[in-house]
Symmetry: C2
Subunit: 202 residues, 2 copies
């Protein structure tokens, strides 16, 4: 059978291989032009506003140079008991984070912005997913740290990697935890006319 | 860094590429020996008991020929309003299922059995995850049907494929919807001593 996606020019303003994977798997075609926005320079209000502001800064920086394209920016953070967990700087930090997450429910926020400067279109939203870890033994934490997976991940884990074994349940969007709420992003792209789903024909 | 998994002989009694993917991604080594159990010959009681009974039949059929190995069997079904949705037999059946799931919450049950005949160990459980679809337009349903993805999937969708765009949120285990509750399976394998997580060393 024949199916296709008709779409405008799309840019992902992120270097994250996970976001690239999510969008590719959904059948979209896009270029990757990472933003150079300094994440640490942003002031923290509440998690949703923070990720939204950061996603907007990333998307608009790239969009300024490509006014004809639709640009997607995103930022994901892990929050437990009101504290934001960044990427762990070393084994001890990873150990501390995993101990804190063990047996508890935390929140993952992804703010995302979809904009097209030439059309004066700017959309920003944030999605929150609750993630519940199983209770981890000391051996499990040490083993996971030694896989090296925690070190470039906010909250010291990857739900789509070896870290699958850590996560008992989630409440909300799964792809949001990976790095981009795909259902919401594609719904916006369809509604805005950027993406048209067509079956049959050439 | 060095990490490894020490484990006994493990067999996956399922031909599902999705289950294979989930176990591989979790770092496990296993053989695949699909069972020949006839799924349609089972009597339906409630969804959890049904998937458990079927997973047990699959695992034990394969385990009988491999008494030294640990065998994993699993069965996944999609239930909406008390009705089980199987694999759609043709486009009209897929269309009907997707219309039924649109904008609604349904349940995905995976029953799984882990057994070792030689050690007289048999464990069976079932995990249920609630899955909420976004409201689908007629165009989205037609497009998705024409991707061919619905046809070998219970409930006519694949949460880990192009079907990602259909799913707004879930409540429970994500991997359970893909076909095997990885967190629970690995927790059992560790507890039973089949899998040992070791960091460092050779």
């Amino acid at each position: 059978m024949v199916h296709k996606i008709q779409q405008g020019r799309l840019i992902l303003a992120s270097n994250s291989p996970r976001r690239r994977y999510l969008l590719s798997r959904a059948g979209l075609h896009f270029e990757v032009i990472p933003s150079t926005v300094d994440e640490t320079a942003m002031v923290f209000e509440d998690p949703a506003s923070f990720t939204q502001a950061l996603s907007r800064a990333k998307a608009e920086e790239v969009a300024a140079g490509h006014p004809d394209a639709w640009v997607i920016g995103a930022d994901t953070i892990v929050v437990i008991d009101g504290t934001v967990l960044g990427k762990p700087k070393g084994m001890e930090a990873a150990r501390t984070m995993l101990r804190q997450l063990s047996g508890q429910t935390h929140q993952v926020y992804t703010g995302y912005t979809i904009c097209c400067v030439g059309l004066n279109q700017h959309f920003t939203d944030a999605v929150c997913t609750a993630v519940t870890f199983k209770t981890l033994s000391a051996e499990e934490i040490e083993w996971y740290i030694h896989t090296d997976e925690p070190f470039d991940k906010a909250g010291a884990y990857a739900i789509q990697g070896l870290g699958t074994f850590l996560v008992q349940r989630i409440n909300g969007s799964y792809t949001n935890v990976v790095g981009l709420p795909v259902c919401e992003v594609i719904a916006y792209l369809i509604q805005a006319g950027v993406v048209q789903l067509r079956e049959g024909g050439a």
